[in-house]
């Protein structure tokens, strides 16, 4: 057995994997929605990734590779299986275009006032397939190609699923935005009196 090769691998793995630790944990917590499960998921991901590192080709996209391991580990966990069983079969079907903004100017103003907690709750309420793609795109700032590699779906599916995720999020935010608008009007009315 070539021990120097094994150690070289371990060094490379550590250099590639440790810098992603915080991001992987954040993503795992969003998926599992609790700290203990997130820690288990990240730990299992690192164990699997280290074990399978010999199959990873240096120079290719390590981030997409390890995120894919994390996601697959989640999907095959008890919680992940439960979540995927509730996903409607047609959730990736071609969508009918719907304007994102019905009342553009007020929504633009209100989005600027939207607080973190309301947005985090709305993201939490998204189905897991929408939540994960939105986080990979907006938080991890992955390209469509990286998302495609991570989720093992074609780029066309990445685009349509992202679009649906954003629209669903906006719909979920609407009550918060309307509530914010109501409060704002009330404040302005009181101020005027």
């Amino acid at each position: 057995m070539d021990l120097s090769g094994a150690n070289l691998q371990l060094d490379s793995f550590e250099e590639l994997a440790i810098p992603l630790f915080d991001q992987l944990y954040n993503f795992a917590h969003w998926l599992t929605q609790n700290r203990d499960d997130a820690e288990d998921l990240v730990q299992e991901t690192y164990v699997k990734a280290l074990k399978g590192f010999s199959s990873f080709q240096l120079g290719t996209n390590f981030r997409a590779w390890i995120y894919r391991i994390l996601r697959n580990t989640f999907l095959t966990s008890r919680k992940g299986l439960k979540v995927t069983m509730t996903v409607p079969l047609d959730f990736d079907e071609e969508e009918v275009l719907e304007p994102a903004i019905e009342h553009a100017t007020p929504e633009t103003l209100l989005l600027a006032r939207l607080n973190h907690e309301s947005l985090q709750s709305a993201i939490d309420e998204l189905p897991v397939h929408f939540r994960e793609i939105l986080l990979l795109c907006e938080v991890e700032e992955m390209s469509y190609q990286e998302i495609s590699d991570t989720l093992a779906v074609p780029i066309g599916t990445v685009m349509s699923r992202l679009s649906r995720a954003r629209r669903t999020l906006r719909n979920q935010l609407r009550p918060h935005l309307q509530q914010e608008a109501g409060l704002r009007i009330a404040r302005e009315t009181n101020h005027g009196l």
């Binding site: 060094d11 915080d22 275009l97 553009a104 938080v139």
Partner: protein
Amino acid sequence: MVCESWKERLDTYLDGELPQEEMGALDAHVRTCPSCSVDVLSRVQLKRAIHLAGKRFTPSAEFRNRIQRGIASKPRRTVLHGWMLAAAAAVVLVVGTLTSNYLGNRSGRDQVFSEIADLHVATLASSSPVDVISTDRHTVKPWFQGRIPFAFNLPELQNSEFSLLGGRMTYLEQTPGAHLIYNVGKHHISVFVFQERSLPARLSDNSDKQEKLSFNMETWSQGGLRYFVIGDASVADIDKLAKLFKGTS
């Protein structure tokens, strides 16, 4: 409506995934179309908000430590930095010492010293040796508040040859403690602080100096805390840093 075909591509445009020529055309359209420009503004706001709100969860220091040690604690041969090479050489010595200790009658005290050496080496071999990166003791000290069940003082280093690199949480047989890393010349020195009563092995009450494992170590108890100073720096440097710590209370 003319804008419909543009609106369809706004998200792809804002994700930077449109082909170059379409990007230019859409840029030009957005500048002249009030409806699309408001739409773009709203989508950008939402993207920014998700980006910020999405960075919500941070791992605990204990979990980070566990993962890092799980990956970094193994011996290695190929490293990038000179000081890592020194650390790797020390691993071999530590392993050698551990083996001989197992063969002989290994005392609890030696066990603690070996673990301290192990922690020092494993940390320096890690790609991110410290969790709080700062040369300012007034930044590093408060970082430990709430993370470890005690407080301690860091020495003033002005006019000394030492510089603080940062700190991290550490565990010695399930006992939480502080791990600080200092620089002197090209050497790295670790300072570990634990609550004396929480440590499993009874250590010497007085100051104790060890000169084995190819690096030097000094330990003492002060104010209910157990300090360890360890590194491959000279005995004099280890002693100087120990004295600075002893002078803090």
